[in-house]
Amino acid sequence: MSQTPETTNARADFEPFIQIKDNYNFWYGSTQVLFDMNLDIPEKQVTAFIGPSGCGKSTLLRSINRMNDLIEGIHHTGDITIADQSIYDPSLEVISLRKRIGMVFQKYNPFPKSIYENIVFSLRIAGRNKKSELDEVVERSLRGAALWDEVKDRLHESALSMSGGQMQRLCIARAIANNPEVILMDEPCSALDPIATGKVEELIHELKKDYTIVIVTHNMQQAARVSDRTAFFYLGKLIEYDVTDNIFMKPSNEQTEAYVSGRFG
């Protein structure tokens, strides 16, 4: 499948919220890892990135909040916009970009602090210390992450005393504390058991009412269950992007068919 915007977004029937555009390319030093990407991501839906290891899906995800900037020797061509604003706009501070984008990682990573302090950490850094405001943010975020009822009586206990699934949901609560527009999730369930995975998937289904979610997952069944649209990547190229039903039930591309049916390689 060619990588023109016309084909990759052939079935687009939405106003894009995040746009990867102008044939986005990305290099680690001299190694090119993303090739000619053009991808429109809708607002308040779940978009899944799937593909074998090394296909570029995590690199693309981490490009959206410029996490890759932390790596030396990277460069790109093309552009990524969120609500029509380029993330590479020189007048845009990376910190303010990351406030608009929450991120949840593969391995849950709560700070060695209380549940409460994990949620309000970024607010305190920003100098917001008013107790009533912090209390409100903690309750809203924990409710948003479907965790409030489980921890409301032990908010000042260490976050590290929680189960793995609870810690990951705490990280989601922390990600939404700043009222972001976008949540990026990089394999958020790969360290969780099936029950905790189910809870996080349910949470993703709830969160999309308020947030635009992009999720990288190795688990194709998970992509099928949670996402509205799915993009399949291979060797740094976007092979096919469509509504999830089509990707899993009737993909247009033979490589996609081979990958989703486990006949790859």
Binding site: I195, G198, K199, E201, E202, H205, Q221, A224, R225, T244, D245, F248, M249
Partner: protein, 212 residues
């Protein structure tokens, strides 16, 4: 834990109940058209066939989608397979109703009324009761009711054979009206097939509830 997509399973189950009710209603109208020589009821039964066909397609598509996207296991998988098989049985029962209605229409158009309805009324009452109970057993997850349906099929088979013998003997006699007799034999056979589909549905409900 209830997952958000479990409601899709309930929608499939609801559609299955609906196709069952429509197939039974089509059969009832077709047979009443025959017994009462009522062309209007016959036409109404004919019209229901498309609705039943469409529902079967909807159930098939929703089932394939559920298997593909929701990774079902255990009783959820059984429900999906039962939905696919049962909707096929019910669609075929609808086809039999359609066939009864069309043959009745031919008889009524040619002869004005049905001259010898043999034991069609009694037989269809048994067949439709089987179908109604099979649908109820699915709706209520009633194993005992489903199990009881299986043996009731024999009585319908017996009446069908009796109808055949009666009509065949009449055809051999000098006053036989061959066309009407053949059509009535086929109508009797269609009702016997509806009872078979009800029996199949009951077996599918037993599988759903027990896994066997």
């Amino acid at each position: 834990m209830n997952r958000y997509f479990h409601k899709e399973l309930e929608e499939i189950r609801s559609k299955l109940i609906l196709i069952g009710e429509k197939a039974n209603e089509a059969g009832r109208l077709a047979v009443e058209g025959f017994i009462e020589s009522d062309l209007e009821k016959t036409q109404a039964a004919v019209k229901m066939d498309d609705e039943i066909d469409d529902l079967e397609v909807e159930i098939d598509r929703a089932s394939v989608r559920y298997i593909t996207l929701r990774s079902p296991v255990s009783s959820d998988v059984r429900l999906i397979f039962v939905a696919i098989k049962a909707s096929h049985d019910l669609e075929r029962a609808g086809d039999e109703a359609h066939s009864i209605a069309k043959k009745t229409r031919t008889i009524l158009t040619r002869d004005g009324k049905v001259k010898n309805p043999v034991e069609i009324e009694k037989m269809s009452a048994l067949a439709f009761a089987m179908m109604r109970d099979a649908i109820t057993s699915l709706l209520d997850e009633n194993l005992e009711l489903a199990q009881g349906i299986i043996k009731r099929d024999k009585e319908v088979d017996r009446i069908n054979k009796e109808n055949y013998t009666t009509l065949y003997n009449e055809m051999k006699g000098e006053h036989g009206d061959s066309s009407t007799h053949v059509e009535t034999i086929l109508i009797s056979k269609s009702i016997e097939r509806i009872a078979d589909h009800a029996k199949n549905l009951a077996e599918e409900v037993i599988y759903l509830l027990t896994g066997e």
